[in-house]
Symmetry: C2
Subunit: 218 residues, 2 copies
DNA sequence: ATCATACAGTTGACAGTGTCATCTGAACCG
DNA sequence: CGGTTCAGATGACACTGTCAACTGTATGAT
């Protein structure tokens, strides 16, 4: 961490600071709290600086999501290649990793599962501005998609090692979507423990057991 | 539809028009597109009129969500009390009803599962304004919660008729959360059919079959 | 019938916000 | 050394949510 004089180093440092500030604000108060002005202030730069690194606010949030997906992907990769863990433990760990994001960083979790590439459905009047603001121009979403896909690939490999190539995809998709739903409803407060007499963790256990039983996994 | 002269009728009419306009804008461009000014314009009133019927923008969106939950609840109630349907058909229909909302009105679906009553976690600086804007002052969320809970009760009854009181809650929660996750990932574009070799509908089928098998339902 | 009141609706104003056009200065490179 | 590029700063604009003050009319009591 030498004194940074070169322009590239300085730019990279500010970009990093912008991403960190955005993530911090996101955790504090959700996407609405991620103000380009506040992001710039926390990064030590001023209002319009983020536009030198991202095309706009949505692009910044997408970049935060991309980095998070990469982190989650690394986490699941580490689980998958850990020889000390059983296949079942790897699966539970991977599901748990996703759910933990929802618990520890709920706002980020919602950004991770933001709608991408909404349909071109015609929307008249002044909606184009909002459409552009929502889905971003292009470029950044691609890396976020790749990162999210890498996570899914890692997860798929874990399921395949447990259920075989034949059923991996079907059961993997069911496990992943169900875990996402459990996390989402717990996060939104729609999973009332008193009403359902169960918890998110129990649901994950039931789900895994059910799938392993149905799929003749060992 | 007589000529409305009484103040109560007029107020009720504008409230209805406000809700309709908000729902329409929500479908068109998401919550960001629901502008109080545009809502007022489409309802034939002006900027600040909505504040006579709702405490703010979030309150308006919450009211839209409440009405939608009531509609979904009615729909599932109709399914549950339809003597021409088998228990299994009722279950599939209820799950399908929820997923169809996600397909036909994706933005509304996200509002339906908005976080309610976020934790009081301390958030310094100027975050209080955002906190208030996000979760609303109070009053309205209660009716939305009741409506959402009624839907869950209807759904629970359907599952109970199929799996018995003993397992209804555990399996009902799993079915509901999983269906929510399937809908959510399909909606956000994270459920790649090419990658997973399956579709949301197939996942629902697999899920229902798995639960019925595991629960010894008929 | 008269009049005070409540209250739906309007308007003006204000603080923020995302975004762009323009400007500035220093690192870069021939 | 001089021109160029580019990160960053600043001014400006349109738009937003929200509130205070205001207006007019239906309501209800007298």
């Amino acid at each position: 961490m030498g004194v940074m004089t070169t322009r590239a180093e300085s730019a990279a440092a500010t970009r990093r600071a912008l991403l960190d500030a955005a993530a911090e604000l996101l955790d504090l108060g959700g996407p609405e709290a991620v103000t380009l002005r506040e992001v710039g202030a926390r990064a030590g730069v001023s209002r319009g600086a983020p536009y030198r690194h991202f095309t706009g606010k949505d692009s910044l949030l997408t970049a935060v999501a991309a980095e998070s997906w990469e982190g989650i992907g690394d986490q699941v990769h580490a689980l998958r290649t850990d020889p000390a863990l059983s296949a079942s433990e790897k699966l539970r760990g991977a599901l748990r990793a996703l759910i933990d994001v929802g618990r520890n960083r709920p706002h980020l979790y919602q950004v991770l599962f933001r709608r991408r590439a909404n349909l071109p459905g015609q929307l008249g009047d002044g909606m184009d501005r909002i459409r552009r603001q929502l889905c971003g121009p292009e470029g950044d979403p691609a890396v976020a998609d790749r990162a999210a896909e890498r996570f899914q690939d890692e997860f798929l490999d874990i399921v395949a090692a447990l259920a075989g190539e034949r059923n991996a995809r079907r059961y993997g998709a069911l496990l992943l979507t169900s875990a996402h739903g459990i996390a989402g409803m717990e996060l939104s407060g729609h999973l009332d423990t008193d009403k359902w007499h169960t918890t998110a963790d129990e649901l994950v256990d039931t789900l895994v057991r059910m799938v392993t039983d149905a799929g003749e996994m060992t």
